[in-house]
Symmetry: C2
Subunit: 304 residues, 2 copies
DNA sequence: CCGTGTGAAATGCTTCACAGCG
DNA sequence: CGCTGTGAAGCATTTCACACGG
């Protein structure tokens, strides 16, 4: 969807897959650690282990950047650090502004990894007048009124939104209008932006829900279906009781794909299928309806 | 990677793709908002827009859950909220512990969306003795020594790690040994866990680096290659100057796949390709080497 | 002889497009 | 007649496996 477009065929051969781009920071981190320990070279096998991926994937990823390894030996750590940094654009300075200085915003402002990779917190912005002037992480918070001026004076192109959900879209629009073209959104809302603006979101609640899904599955591993029969507690079955269970369709398929993001290594350890504590929470139309701010589900982390 | 396994063919038809699972929370949020406005039904088109995906994807996703819609009409909001909640396992209560109560941990503890979806903060744990007893978000912080007892007493199966990178793996091991089988990791490290334990990570630094990559590309859109020639500042070219640019291989490929996570809608707005502020940061072997804690890149957010 | 670099196969996800049910 | 549900096509990503270079 979105508005027309067909993304230019890339200036030319520059076509690194998104999935690969998303892993470069991982490699970079692992490499930086090795660099600190003065390790001169690494094999794809070792580096892959340190980054938490498999070696085939890593080699393929690097192949998109060029041939930076030495057959029979491995990769030169320093050299690779440089190449990846350059590819990611970390050899230049990126001023960043953080909007919404609540607990989260403060945490981000204090985040060390921030400055260590070419990102510089150019300003902290908050809508609460009483915050203005207060130093957070050594930087004085400025009022939202200054937003546009700050962006243009500092040539900021990356903005971080850590405001409540209700304020996010508006802040986003102001950032974009002022010249920001990349946004990292921590507010639990879908931001609508013009073409050409990149948005990445980080949503705690979503991550937890995904974990819950897998957790639930683990629990029901042997207890099997029982929720499937929970028909009793189901709320108003729609109009004419929907016809469940598709005959077959391209649906089903096994897989279950575990390691959704990690899950490497192996060790002993206890814990074998642990049932969730409480019992099937009151359900009756309930589910996601308890305490909830007047506006979606604000992070309750900041003033307004 | 990972130890053997072949994931059971799913109790039977239960095979929801990971990608779909990851979107269910998004739909749920949009649906909850509609539910609050007492909207009775939605079409895939409308709901998709609200969730920031396209309708075909949404319909396909829902088809994995079953046939919950009504042709010619749409979906019953309340009913769908219930079905998705159940699928995600949100109809039960999930006690959660947060380890590492620094700025970030506190932000998470205060996060409203937390409690509103079936997650209950069962305890806040920190290694700093002086934190013990202090109330954060209305809950008294407990010392790490209590970790095992807390986990088992509360039947906690989901843990959130918000400690500095250096402490993460150790905390992770203790959580797992105590019975936790799902971990949400905010520390910038790769966690190694036994089979059967799910780990999801949230890494601010990585998200920013991905944005920087795209941002850099936007800038070089017309200024074209110029970094490609930056050979002058490159550090020790490995052994025998690696042979750049692969002949062709399955590499290249165009696409450039933008909307890495969002980028919907459309509007006017200014900002058209904005060059990053500073000039090519000192680079000379530099890149990712400035201020950095003695231990990787700790979130500098918490004591120890 | 080891480990990179990479075609090719396998798998997974998204998009298309349309049959068919209310 | 509109909108869902879904085969089938189109892409993207991962994995395999092995030729090739140092």
């Amino acid at each position: 969807m979105a508005t027309g477009r067909t993304h230019r065929p890339a200036t030319r051969s520059r076509g690194i897959p998104e999935a690969t781009v998303a892993r470069l920071p991982l490699y970079l981190r692992a490499l930086t650690a090795l660099s600190e320990r003065s390790v001169p070279t690494v094999s794809s096998e070792e580096l892959a282990a340190a980054a938490g991926v498999n070696s085939a994937k890593l080699r393929k990823d690097f192949s998109y950047l060029g041939s930076y390894g030495t057959r029979g030996v491995g990769y030169d750590v320093e050299y690779l650090v440089y190449q990846i940094s350059r590819e990611l654009g970390l050899t230049q300075d990126w001023p960043v502004v953080i909007v919404g200085i609540g607990n989260l915003g403060a945490a981000l402002a204090n985040y060390g990894g921030f400055a260590s990779r070419g990102f510089r917190v150019a300003a902290l912005i908050d809508a609460d007048p009483s915050m203005a002037g207060k130093p957070v992480a050594g930087i004085a918070v400025q009022h939202t009124d200054e937003l546009e001026k700050i962006i243009s004076d500092n040539g900021v192109s990356i903005g971080v939104i850590a405001t409540p959900a209700g304020a996010a879209q508006q802040v986003c629009e102001r950032l974009v209008a002022a010249g920001v073209t990349s946004i990292l959104n921590f507010a639990p809302t879908v931001l609508t932006v013009p073409d050409g603006v990149d948005v990445r979101k980080v949503d705690l609640s979503i991550e937890l829900q995904i974990l819950a899904f897998h957790e639930q599955r683990k629990a029901g591993e042997e207890a099997a279906q029982d929720a499937a029969q929970a028909d009793a507690t189901a709320p108003a079955p729609p109009p004419i009781r929907a016809n469940r269970g598709s005959s077959d369709g391209g649906a089903g398929r096994s897989s279950a794909g575990a390691d959704a993001t990690a899950s490497a290594g192996s060790r002993a350890a206890s814990a074998g299928t642990r049932a969730p504590s409480g019992s099937t929470r009151a359900a009756s139309g309930a589910a996601a309806r308890d305490n909830k701010g007047p506006d979606g589900d604000v992070p309750a982390v900041m003033p307004a």
